[in-house]
Symmetry: C14
């Protein structure tokens, strides 16, 4: 394996693993938040607007950690400084 | 193994693993959200429309993390920049 | 092992692992959703149609993550672009 | 090991592992669904037909993920395109 | 190790592992279903026939996933197409 | 290691592992079923015959998965077709 | 290592591992069953004979899976057909 | 592999793993916090402003641990002192 | 390493591991049984003799699985047929 | 790999892993603390100032363990005595 | 490494691991038993003598599994038959 | 790798791992303690001073185990006797 | 590595691991026992002397398993018969 | 690597791992004990002195297992008999 191949392989594997494991827990955390939101709406229908609004802000926070991972993977695939260094 | 083979193997394995582990927790999180939605509808049938609407928005958020993984796998298989570099 | 063999072996193993681990959590999540649906029907028989309808939409969402994995495995076995490249 | 042997070994091992791990969680999910069905029937005997019907649809959905794995294993053993390529 | 030995060893190990791990979760799921059945009979003795009937259908579904694994192991030991190919 | 030794070693190890891991979860599932049976008898002594009968049928189902593993181990030790092939 | 040594080592290690992991879950399952039995006796002292009888039958069933492992280990140590083959 | 390649590979893999595992638990912790916030609002709608305010401060604290990991990954990719040393 | 040394090392390691892992779960199961016994005595002091008697029978059953492991370890250390074969 | 490269690689990997695993549990612990704080405010709105104050002190304590890890990583990257020794 | 060294190393490591893992679960089981004893005494102070007596018998049983491991380790260090054989 | 490099690498990796895993559980334990403190204050506002004082003493005890790890890491990086021996 | 070094390394590593893993579960078990003791005292202050006495006896029993590990580590470091044999 | 280096490396790594894993569970156990203490004080403020006293004795017992590990690490770093032997 020459150097360029090694960089490419490392980038491919790391991008996949990062997105894979990085989207596990956000999904679980969002599932828990959504579940509780539904339970709360059923319990107190009058507070539905407040609950829904807080839920969406919370989901955005949680989703952000999954997006960190996805962004990092995209950087490694399409804007990898190490790859650019070796190609250049 | 020559360089092209290595890139191909790494792409195949990473694509599979990423989709595989990346669809575990979304499924579990969605299962929890759906379960709570059903429980909430049974408890407060009048709030069913609000619950169902919130559920679908939540499921879309959760599903999005699984889709990040699937998209990444598709990129690695059908639009892999490293593979294109070595083929070219 | 020549290159074609390596690609074949990686495709076989990845296809199996992806479907194997990718169908674990959807099954568990569906089991939880179905269980809660039955409990909710028993608790509120009048809401059975709403519950059943919501359940089926939810099951379809959860099943979709398992289908991503199965589709990816089928692509790797029957429509593998890397395999086609090396065969050609 | 020549190439044909490698393909055979990979197919055997992958077929076994896929069916093995792929039938773990469906069994657990079905167990949970059946358990809740029995509990619900005991709690509300009048709703038994609705519960039983919903249960069977749910079990079929859950069983489907186990069947994906079993189908994939059968494909790898009896209709393996890579094996056919090397035998031909 | 010549080729025939390798196929034999892979078949033996895979058959054992598949049956071993494939019979773990069905046993656990059946245990849970049986436990709930007994609890439900104690709670509602009049519904015992319905509960018992539903239980047996459910156990059969759960047992089926264990049987997939056992069938696959038997195929690998007594009707292995790869073994037959190398012996022939 | 010559071929006969390899087959023997693989058979010994697989037989042990299969029985070992294959008898873990049945024991746990049976423990749970027995525990619930005792609890149910204490709660509803009049239903003891029905409970005991259902318990024994259920234990037999659960035990069957442990027996699959034990049977497979016995086949590998005393009626191993691969071993017979190499000895012959 | 000559062939006889390999068989001996594999038998020793497999015998130990099989008994070791095979006696974990039966112990846990029996502990759970005994615990529930005691709780049930305290709750319903009049049903003590029925509970005790059911408990012992259940313990025997659970113990049987541990005994499968112990029997297999004894076979591997004292009546190992592969060892006898190589010694002969 | 020459030295520059090694540094690049280590940086790529470490950046991915760090962000991947570092965004797991914050997502889970935020999910729990959001879930409880929704439950609390439903229980005491009058305290919604206090709850929401405390929630956002808490989410910021939790998010900070995920950001430590993301910052470290960015440093390793775009401002890596070891890489600069070897390039220089 | 000559053959006698290998047998000795395998026996030492296996004996230790078997006793080590084999005494984990019995201890946990006994702890659970004893805990429930104490709880039951506190709840129903009049049933203390029955509870204590059942407890001791149960502890003996659970302890038996730990003793299987200890016996096997003693056999491997002090009455190892393979060791005797090689020494002879 | 020469000595300087080894030190650099070890520092990069260790810095990443330390921050990655070191920010897992603080995030989870803070999530639990925040969740309980919200629940407590909803239950006793009058005690909100005391609760909020105690919460922030507690969060600072928990955050401190994550900061230990981040500080260590920064030392390894920007003020590594071993690296300085080899560069000098 | 000559044979005597190998035996010594295997004995040292096995002795440590056996005692280490063998004292984990007894400690946990005893902790659970003691905790329940204290709870029971607080609930029913009059039954304290019976509870304490049963507790000590139970602790002795649980401790026995930890002692099996400790005894085995002492045998391996101070009365190792394999070591004596090689020294002699 | 010469000796000084090995010592440096071992010190770097060990320092990182020790602080990383050593700050996991203290964070979790502190999170639990803080959570309960908040719950207790909400339940009994009058006891807030006693609770807060006990909480801080407890947090200090828990933090001390994290500090052991941090101190050890600092010793390994800045006052390592083995490193000093080899440098001298 | 000569023989004396190997013995020393094995002793160092085993001593550390044994004490490390051997002090995990006792700490957890003691934490549970102490927690329950405090809860019991709060529930029944009059029984505090009996509870405290039973607690200390129980803690001594649990601590004993941690001490087994510590003693074994001290033996391996300061009174190691194998080390003495090789030094002599 | 010469012998002195090996001893140093083994001592460094073992010291770190021992303190790292040895301070996990004490922290968790202390967290649980402190949490229960706070809950108990809130429930029964009059018993605060007894609870606090018992808590501190218990914390000291739990902390002792963490201290065993720290002491062992300090011995390995600053008073290592094997290191002294090789240096001498």
């Amino acid at each position: 394996m020459d150097n360029v191949t090694i960089i490419a392989v490392a980038s491919i594997i790391t991008a996949g693993i990062t997105t894979g494991i990085g989207s596990m827990m956000p999904a679980l955390g969002e599932g828990r938040a959504v579940a509780k939101a539904l339970e709360s709406i059923a319990q107190q229908p009058d507070a539905a607007p407040t609950i829904t609004r807080t839920l969406f802000v919370g989901l955005a926070m949680i989703e952000s950690t999954a997006i960190y991972c996805f962004v990092l993977s995209m950087i490694l695939i399409f804007a990898n400084p190490f790859w650019n260094h070796f190609i250049a």
